[in-house]
Symmetry: C2
Subunit: 539 residues, 2 copies
């Protein structure tokens, strides 16, 4: 027996329409080359419709992939809604990847148009010949460098807007229609595409805005340091549009000085970005000098990897801000868990509170989390039994775009095998140990590189630490710690680090070697690049 409720589709256009009706006077601000630009949601809605009809006018139709290669800007934000709401697919491209990977991504997706920031033009010149489907180029945030490139028409973004139809309205269609496409870079092989639907994006946004998750609200002023090419910028643009939250987009190549300046000038309440962004801000701000004021911040949501306790304490002490985290990945839209700290745990002593804050959180509503061993059998949620995490839910991918071979590797029995390893506490909160490939297999036992890194980073002489496996004849693998000293000129004594660790981890976990470096290599999305560290110190 079926219910007799209206069969209304879950579509992103409803966010935009509601926002215009209820929050038309609220704003999104973005850093442009000539300063801060602020636009109301009413204006953004109007321009998104003009953009959609303008794109239709230059040949973009239903189901077409429209790539974006751009920073966190107002134009990119408008495209975030215009493209999916017209029935096309927003294909955000990470321009920090190698040109070969960008060429692969654009070609594999079959993107028909690209909206590109003027400063990324040289990248497009390098890859255009390998993108036969790409017919239309729209240049954002700067003048088009020419009227044609390799035989393709080049348009200015504002010209497309100007040619749009003021009476255009977004169409209605099935909620399972594709809305977005994002490629996740693999450690081996080519990037893999995840094709989001309107339904998955709407449900993911509702979950974001739940009081017991991020609780995203109209009262927040949110600085989005997460790149908009990275997993829908964690879905924050959609959730902000749903609620009318004030958004702040940091524009081209933001550094710590710009981010801190935006927090101060626009009284930002919430900042979202990679853990490395949090580290960058900490290293930039000198609390003793009292030159910067971060106290408008209520919370800093850091992702990509686990923040250290030292970082959590720093933001608490110097900004009065909580550090929030979740766990997710491109395949999960990206948010699968969120570390909401229950009200009855808030009264706990600081140390216990931090221990809880360092967990990756509990599954969001509608997301199912499983912890399994190598054979796929369930592992108990007791805080000590280690297993691999699997996910199921309405905003988890069920396959990769046009990639049956890679699909078969990780989508099994209706579940997504994340490749992440860890434990679940009895209260349902998970703790991530490692990517499966980052675990160190030593003498038949596992060593968690993440736990070693956290232990090392608690040492006052250590600014940043990354632990990787190096081959070992007898033990198969042994840990090596690569360390950025707090005082570059005076790295800590290895024997002293040994003693420090001995009080914190099992004796056989203590690294065989410490290497002192001036910086740790990062991936295009700001995560520690363990692959590169491993290669550097293999011998």
């Amino acid at each position: 027996m079926r219910g007799l409720m209206m069969d209304r589709p879950l579509l992103l256009r409803s966010f935009l329409q509601r926002n215009e009706q209820l929050h038309g006077r609220r704003t999104v601000s973005a850093v442009a080359d000539d300063g801060l630009v602020t636009r109301t949601y009413a204006d953004i809605g109007r321009r998104a419709r003009l953009l959609a009809s303008g794109l239709a006018g230059i040949g973009i139709g239903t189901g077409d992939r429209v790539a974006t290669i751009g920073w966190n800007t107002l134009t990119h934000f408008e495209a975030y809604f215009a493209v999916p709401c017209m029935g096309a697919v927003l294909h955000t491209v990470n321009f920090r990847l190698f040109p070969d990977q960008v060429a692969y991504i654009l070609g594999h997706a079959g993107s028909r148009a690209v909206l590109i920031d003027a400063d990324q033009w040289p990248l497009l010149e390098q890859v255009i010949d390998r993108c036969p489907d790409l017919q239309t180029i729209v240049v954002m945030n700067g003048p088009p460098p020419g009227s044609r490139l390799a035989g393709r028409a080049v348009h200015g973004y504002e010209d497309v807007i100007a040619a749009g139809d003021a009476d255009y309205d977004f169409p209605e269609f099935d909620e399972n229609t594709a809305a977005g496409l994002c490629y996740t870079s693999a450690t081996t092989g080519n990037p893999k595409g995840v094709l989001y639907s309107h339904r998955s994006m709407v449900l993911h946004s509702l979950a974001h805005c739940l009081a017991d998750a991020f609780g995203l609200s109209e009262r927040m002023r949110i600085l989005v340091a997460t790149p908009m090419f990275h997993a829908n910028a964690w879905g924050i643009p959609h959730s902000a549009a749903l609620t009318g939250a004030v958004l702040v987009l940091p524009g081209r190549a933001p550094d710590a000085a710009r981010l801190v300046g935006l927090v101060e000038d626009l009284q930002v309440t919430h900042l979202c970005g990679a853990v490395s962004v949090g580290v960058m801000i900490r290293d930039f701000v000198d609390p003793a000098a009292a030159r910067h004021d971060l106290t408008s911040l209520e919370a800093v949501w850091l992702g990509g990897q686990a923040p250290t306790e030292a970082l959590v304490r720093w933001f608490e002490e110097h900004a009065g801000a909580e550090v929030w985290q979740g766990w997710g990945m491109t395949e999960a839209s990206p948010l699968a868990t969120f570390n909401h700290v229950d009200h009855d745990l808030r009264a706990e002593p600081t140390e216990d509170r931090h221990r809880r804050a360092l967990r990756q959180g509990a599954p969001l509503p509608l997301v199912e989390l499983a912890l399994v061993d190598k054979d796929g059998h369930s592992v108990p949620w007791n805080g000590t039994s280690v297993g691999e995490f699997r996910l199921r839910g309405p905003w988890i991918a069920r396959e990769y775009f046009d990639d049956p071979e890679r699909t078969a590797e990780v989508f099994v029995d209706g579940w997504y095998r994340t490749g992440d390893v860890g434990v679940v506490d009895p209260d349902g909160y998970m703790r991530l140990h490692d990517r499966e490939k980052d675990l160190i297999k030593s003498g038949g036992e596992w060593i968690s590189s993440v736990e070693l890194e956290n232990a090392l980073q608690a040492h006052p002489g250590v600014s940043e630490a990354v632990v990787v496996a190096v081959p070992h004849e007898k033990w198969r693998e042994r840990p090596l710690a690569c360390i950025v000293p707090a005082d570059r000129a005076n790295p800590p004594d290895p024997a002293e680090l040994d003693d420090f660790l001995a009080a914190r981890v099992a004796k056989w976990w203590i690294p065989d070697r410490y290497e002192f470096v001036s910086s740790i290599p990062k991936t295009g999305v700001g995560k520690t690049d363990k692959k590169q560290v491993r290669e550097q110190f293999r011998s």
Copy 2:
């Protein structure tokens, strides 16, 4: 082009499962005949599965309607999940209706079983002969009065639980499967049934829990005075299960003393109920005597009709609690709008704040609100143009259960015609004037009975006021005010009331007559019964 996300159905069972995993230690408390009973969500989940498998054992199958006739109790709460999650339909029956209406409802729904509170047995005896489909009776909260009634088997609730299968798990099925059935009593004709789906209930609950709506959270302790037979108790049981909020259910025939006692004893943070419940509490608590302490309350969510400014002020002054309201109806699951007060309006002077608090709110995400004139043409959202409200959205009914004639009257062009009349302010917040039938048509103009009532209730000599139309030879209709004086022995002087109103409403709105009464008649769901008032004073 379709997205490639998992096709996971939105089912109520996911709330129950998540709650057991994450909030198993949290509780629901309910008043039973022998005192307060408290049960953990882990225990409730276990018992819900036992109940479902026990019901299956006595013949309840997929799609069967299972009626409940009961107060707000733990057993009723368990049935709220057990019945829909097994694939049957929870059919909540308002036992305050006339027996003829109850017989109609049970018969029309074709309910196969009924779960009935022991104290409602006499009602069942009166109607059973008119319910041919009703084969199974389960008695909750008391011993079964016999083993058979009119040839039907009678079971004790705990016996059904005891016969349940401990290994049973809820099945998975399509999200559009019917989950609940609730009849709305019409002013003329028979009640009309609304058939909810799992999808509509899940989406409605997510909307409830949004930070900018009710923001329902694990930190809340919520007293549900809204009857569980009334429009899913506003969806609060579902949303509480989603978040792990502590629920307090007031049991059989709660009066003001019990509700106030529960607030004090269990440190309730949020109370939900009809406006008449708020009035009842106000009249019971004497702030001067300082016998009662309502300061644990953060908010009181009152529904069914608009609260008066006097009531809003009373709760603010004597409980430190905000009064929240929304607008909705059985056909809307029930919540269509919610009056979230934006953060930037909170700093306004008290009077402005109250004026805003008295609005019925803005449409929830995914709900579309239209304001139209008699011909269905759009009316501007300017705060003054009056129209009828129409609704569309994934938790709005599209038809009545097995009632094509009544369906045709109100479900038009894909919209639900609510019959409610009012205005929408330019910021998208609506103000309800009246049910269309409660408007007073005087000399070709409309007089709002609600606005007159609000104005009268601001007078210190008025405890409660209701304004209805009485026939008038010249003007067609004129307003009559029926007033409960604050001091029963000294009703205010009509001339003084005229002067008081003259400063607040148009002169021709001033009622022709004032009638002083000791109480205002109420409907079975606690709303002012204007129909009865009209009939009483027609001549």
